[in-house]
């Protein structure tokens, strides 16, 4: 969708001017604002949540409180506020990991060119033959009670080949340009050319890709929770909440619908943000 191959028009765009350009995109501003509000909602849980994360507030599936109670009688609103923390943290870390690894692979493939490029991208295609959730599930088969870092690595690893393809596309448009050739002619080290000349010119499209990846990370992490592969089964987690309270969907729908709406709003916001970034990076200056 946002697989833009267009390099940014400016030779050295500063990130703050890019941010200002993105703010001119209505959908970016909207998505960005909603995301910030949600992050605040989640992070302020210890101060504003009416009950603790594992505190019993009443009978199971009762109507007490704003959104009622869940299958153990815990307050749904409090669980909702706490439940975003782990999803948010795991998603952001997984996105960061996937972006770093993917960008490295993509840029190295584009910069090396020729045979290396062919081999790296063929290997990449193999990984792309796995739907993202499948890659995580296959590894989880042999693991009992996965730790948080396992989920982070799995989600990040499933992003990496997709990021690599985009990064390679963007980098291909840059590696042949004059300032890169000039840097090479001056005898700069390869790693320095990549870090100082190629990467800074890819910020726009890569930021857009990061936004998109964050959207998918949230979906994936929540999906794994929904399937029952959560890291800590007692802790609040939006994905897990859906599974736990699915039984009472007809009598106490908020236990399921509230976390579902949170994920929906969150992913819509980050996706709008990503699309706004993509448009801003395509427009150049």
């Amino acid at each position: 969708m946002t697989a833009t191959a267009n390099p940014p028009a400016a030779a050295k765009p500063k990130s703050d001017s890019f941010f200002r350009k993105a703010l001119r995109q209505k959908r970016f501003t909207f998505g960005f604002t909603v995301t910030l509000i949600l992050i605040a909602f989640v992070l302020l849980a210890p101060h504003f949540a009416p009950y603790g994360e594992r505190e019993t507030a009443g009978l199971p599936f009762s109507k007490d409180g704003v959104f009622g109670t869940d299958y153990l009688g815990q307050d749904v609103l409090s669980r909702l506020m706490y439940g975003g923390q782990s999803i948010l943290l795991i998603s952001v870390l997984a996105t960061a990991l996937g972006m770093v690894v993917g960008i490295l692979i993509g840029v190295i493939a584009a910069y090396s060119g020729g045979w290396w490029d062919e081999v790296i991208m063929r290997g990449n295609d193999v990984l792309l033959a796995f739907p993202q959730i499948l890659l995580a599930l296959v590894v989880l088969t042999a693991i009992r009670e996965p730790k948080s870092w396992v989920i982070i690595v799995l989600v990040g690893a499933s992003h990496a080949p997709r990021v690599a393809r985009v990064a390679r596309g963007v980098a291909l448009g840059i590696v042949s340009r004059d300032f890169v050739v000039a840097a090479e002619a001056l005898g700069e080290k390869r790693s320095r050319v990549i870090l100082a000349e190629v990467l800074p010119n890819m910020t726009g499209p890569l930021l857009a890709e990061a936004g998109l990846r964050l959207t998918y990370s949230i979906g994936l992490v929540a999906a794994l929770g929904f399937l029952g592969f959560a890291t800590d089964t007692g802790a609040a987690n939006w994905g897990l909440m859906m599974k736990e309270n699915q039984l009472a969907l007809s009598t106490q729908p908020w236990g399921v619908v509230a976390p579902v709406l949170m994920i929906a709003i969150f992913t819509i916001a980050t996706n709008l943000m990503a699309d706004g970034l993509a448009q801003a990076s395509q427009k150049g200056d």
């Binding site: 969708m1 499948l134 599930l137 088969t141 979906g219 929904f226 399937l227 929906a264």
Partner: protein, 344 residues
């Protein structure tokens, strides 16, 4: 993925040239493409095997605290997985079994896995094909409406809705549909499909509605956005302008001149989405209790049933590779310029 010319030059298109000695070139292209598909599948098999057999200990995962206590059960499971052999031996043993139709024994019920998947494969194929049959006309229709009103109000509204839908995970869409149409607001459709033994899920058509609708809503936004982008590009081209100047009505221009040229990029994105569906059904099937490969896969992963997971992931990856192959072939056949490029 093969790069195909998205917009064939209209002048070349007047008489689609077919190569005279194209046969050999065609065979060569097909052979190369098939070879690539086989190579991909082989690398996929290595990846699946390493991920399931080498990264953790499935027997320990199944038995948990019983691992030390229940020696008999442990040795039985290790025997089924050939744990006393080296990893390389086990890989080739498994690969040989996979190719000869004996990919192992389920750790959950000690039956060969091969016989347990066929019904589920058919169920999933039916679900995905139904979703595709509904999704393709809907996506193209929305794209046509949207590009007809380009950058006016209806277009902006449609695009914003599509963009919002594109971000939401498919199981979230599914749960929202269930709560609206099944449990809380309306009570039109059942929330889960529960076919009786020996019954197929489509014997209860009402139970198929929500799973199909969920998949359509998850996939249509992507297809629609790509087709719209292509349509807009075509509508700006010279020969569409010429057709308009000749006085051809706008709806004929849209149908005959623009839409036909948007089909090839459409096929590519539909193929990608169909392949994605092969994995996306995992969540949707679990949500609706639909007895397909995705449902079975989640069950197998929960039970740490390694041979079952290996077979199911190979099937899903195989479908992906096959769909891409067919899409490439169709794109080449439908693009005159790419066709001549190969045969000349």
């Amino acid at each position: 993925m093969t790069q195909v010319a998205t917009l064939p030059d209209p002048l070349e298109e007047v008489a689609p040239p077919r190569g005279h000695s194209g046969g050999a070139a065609w065979a060569l292209w097909l052979l190369r493409r098939l070879g690539l598909a086989v190579l991909t599948l082989w690398l996929v098999s290595v990846l699946v095997f390493v991920a399931t057999a080498a990264l953790g200990d499935p027997v320990r995962a199944i038995l948990g605290k019983d691992f030390d206590a229940n020696v008999a059960r442990r040795e039985q499971l290790q025997g089924l997985l050939n744990s006393d052999h080296s990893l390389v031996w086990r890989y080739f043993h498994w690969l040989g079994g996979l190719l000869s139709g004996d990919p192992g024994t389920s750790l959950a019920n000690q039956q060969p896995v091969w016989g347990q998947v066929s019904a589920n494969v058919v169920n999933t194929l039916v679900l995905v094909l139904l979703a595709a049959l509904v999704m393709i006309p809907v996506a193209f229709g929305i794209a046509m409406i949207s590009s007809h009103y380009r950058r006016k109000r209806p277009d902006t509204v449609i695009q914003t809705i599509l963009l919002a839908l594109a971000g939401i995970p498919e199981f979230v869409i599914g749960i929202l549909l269930v709560s609206v149409f099944s449990t809380s607001v309306f009570h039109w459709f059942p929330a889960v499909s529960l076919p009786a033994p020996g019954e197929r899920p489509w014997d209860q058509p009402k139970a198929m509605v929500l799973p199909v609708l969920t998949l359509v809503l998850a996939v249509a936004p992507y297809v629609s956005r790509i087709v719209r982008a292509t349509l807009l590009e075509v509508l700006d081209s010279d020969y569409v302008e010429l057709a308009r100047l000749k006085g051809i009505p706008e709806n004929v221009v849209m149908r005959k001149h623009a839409l036909l040229n948007a089909i090839v990029p459409g096929i590519q994105v539909i193929a990608l989405q169909l392949a994605w569906l092969a994995g996306g059904v995992v969540l949707v099937e679990t949500l609706f209790n639909y007895p397909g490969v995705g449902f079975q896969l989640v069950d197998a992963v929960r039970n740490h049933d390694v041979p079952m997971v290996q077979l199911l992931s190979m099937i899903i990856a195989g479908v992906y590779v096959l769909v891409n192959l067919v899409a490439d072939l169709l794109s080449i056949l439908l693009t005159p310029r790419a066709r001549t490029a190969i045969s000349s």
